[in-house]
């Protein structure tokens, strides 16, 4: 892990002002920010670990917890909101049994809500591992989760 972190820091010539992009790259590498990686960033960039922690907890893009195999981001921009994104969020939470920002215990699904993705024409939008699913509604979000392999309560009734 330490070698990988060193290599990422090298990409930015060890410049401290690139702390945010460095942490972004580290997160990309490990899918989240493990404690050891943060300590390695601190050591090799000569930035106190408290500062690293401050930055990591300040910005939304960083996660100190591992993310699931399927990462679902629901756009909560204003355009999506007025088209009913909130109801979809509750539906996804109900089906996955977790709150937004969390990951299922089996590490299969992570669900988060994000600021505007700028795909307002498609709103409401869910992005699954980088793939956009537009014009979402409650029924479609249920179907989307079914297709990802999630067992859904309404299955039993069919």
């Amino acid at each position: 892990m330490e070698e990988k972190v060193k290599e990422i820091i090298q990409r930015y010539s060890g410049d401290k002002s690139y702390l945010v992009p460095i942490l972004q790259d580290v997160q990309k590498e490990f899918n989240y920010l493990p404690k050891d990686a943060l300590c390695a960033v601190s050591t090799h960039l000569s930035v106190p670990v408290s500062r690293v922690y401050e930055v990591v907890t300040f910005y939304k893009a960083f996660s100190l917890k591992p993310k699931g195999r399927y990462q679902l981001s629901l756009c909560m921009g204003t355009a999506c909101h007025v088209r009913g994104a909130e109801l979809i969020a509750r539906n996804v939470e109900d089906i996955l049994g977790i709150k937004e920002g969390d990951t299922t215990p089996d590490l299969e699904y992570s669900f988060e809500t994000v600021g505007c993705l700028g795909a307002c024409a498609l709103g409401p939008v869910i992005v699954v591992n980088g793939e956009y699913h537009g014009h979402m509604n409650i029924a479609k979000s249920t179907k989307l989760l079914k297709n990802l392999g999630k067992k859904v309560a309404t299955d039993d009734q069919d």
Partner: protein
Amino acid sequence: MTKIKSFNELKSVQERFKAGRDPKKPCITICVGTGCLAYGTQKLVDNFREELAKRNLADKIDFRTTGCHGFCERGPMVVIAPDKVFYQRVGLADAGEIIDKTVLKGEIIDRLLYVDPATGQKVVHEDDVPFYKKQTRLVFGQNSKVDPESLEDYLAIGGYAALGKALTGMKPEEIIQEVIKANLRGRGGGGFPAGWKWDSTRKAEGTPKYVICNADEGDPGAYMDRSLLEGNPHLVLEGMIIGAYAIGSSQGYIYARNEYPLAIKNITRAIEKAREAGLLGENILGSGFSFDVKINRGGGAFVCGESSALFASLEGRAGEPRAKYVHATDKGLYDKPTNLNNVETWANVPFIIEKGADWYASIGTAGSKGTKIFSLVGKINNTGLVEVPMGTKLREIVFDIGGGIPGGKKFKAIQTGGPSGGCIPEKYLDMGVDFDELTKIGSMMGSGGMIVMDEDNCMVNVAKYFTNFLVSESCGKCVPCREGIRRMRDILADITEGKGREGDVELLEKMSTAIIDGALCALGSSAPNPVLSTIRYFRDEYVAHIKEKRCPAGVCKDLITYSVNAEKCTGCTVCSKVCPTGAASGERKQVHKIDVVKCTKCGACRESCKFDAIIVR
């Protein structure tokens, strides 16, 4: 590309590329902006390339992928030059047919044409589409003419001519005077005159001086900056280089949202190509002026759009703003004189330099010059990016360009200015939109988001939405913003949950005043705007929630119940199938009913009912 060493050389290079673009040669243009890519357009692009190769037409027909054209509602979009035949909602398998019929034989494929909903007429040519026809696409129009990855394309349409003119024929002070005379105001939110900011930075003591492009577009519902950076990165870059020369800066930064990977990729490539061509780096165009640009990706914090928070983030710290008794123009990034403008502001600069301040100032209103790009989204038929002269009436934007409200619903309000702005009711639809008019009625220009709402949107819920957003985005440094907005959110939540009390509205107003006066930065002091403007124009909705425990729009869960309209229900059983709790039930062809005890008010039945038979009250 080899280094261009002078303005004259630049002119001959431009001529050469221009000559290489025969206006009569057929050219297929496809929008590959983020919006269209989300429709799966990349596959269509691959199909076109494949079909062209199969027919050995790669040399005879030009093929260009471009940035966002703005009409996101109708993607994937294909425009075929020279006649500019406009195809919308193009299927991924349509590539071969378009080549064979339209490009080779000039036949029009009827099913891909846009139908004007107002007249029912099919529209063949791009320029005749009402959405485009009523716009003035000064800044944004170039997007459909260039491949963002190609410097050659940008040079072919005369790109970097303004830079050449500025570097060889104008003194820095003259450039600043020109921008002041044009009265270019900041497009990022505040509307501060850019020329004066440049002037202060130039005159400030201390070196080095920095210029920064703010591409941390955090307003939910606004994406024009992304589309410019993504679709025409050289235009933004050219504006920055001119600004840097005028200010006397040798180092620039672009601070971009990490959520915009394509914009970051395209601007990175543009910087590399500009460097290669001698348009960036040492001794630009042989003028002796040197300037370079670095890109920094943001960490996802709304507050980083605020200048001093952005500097903190650029320095590798948490993005907390500081008090503004010392201006950024004196002490900004690393405590050095810094000039920060947003993407769209920079993109306007080359036009002012090339065509002159008088020409620029002839567009717009007395206090706001030029055009503004708005992102028209929400409950609107033609979702997309719209560029109009300052002073254009809201009604024209919403109904003539935007095509009105879907589903025959009634217009209720338009929200401008993002979380710092306000909701504008119907009575102001005939108002001309510019910086000052919007401020007068309690909203603001912001970065240009326009979110349309119809009768089904609850204004208290909208106020709660923005306040919620601001609670999670407040950096927490100052008490009025951190605690004040949170309390306001709690009060709003109570109101929407039927726990509102008499006097809550007055308390919200009082708290707003305190936050406006006490917050440290502009984001905090503008945070109460969505609440204040909804109270100002939709007070009756607040009263209905508090006194009658009723949500007139049928949105707030705790104040509504679902039932079935027996006259409309056909017993199709769809609602009972989608209901996750079994609350909706009934026999086939019999009127269904909803068990209010089991009902979780998730809304699945209402959205699936084709007969509008679910009543929410």
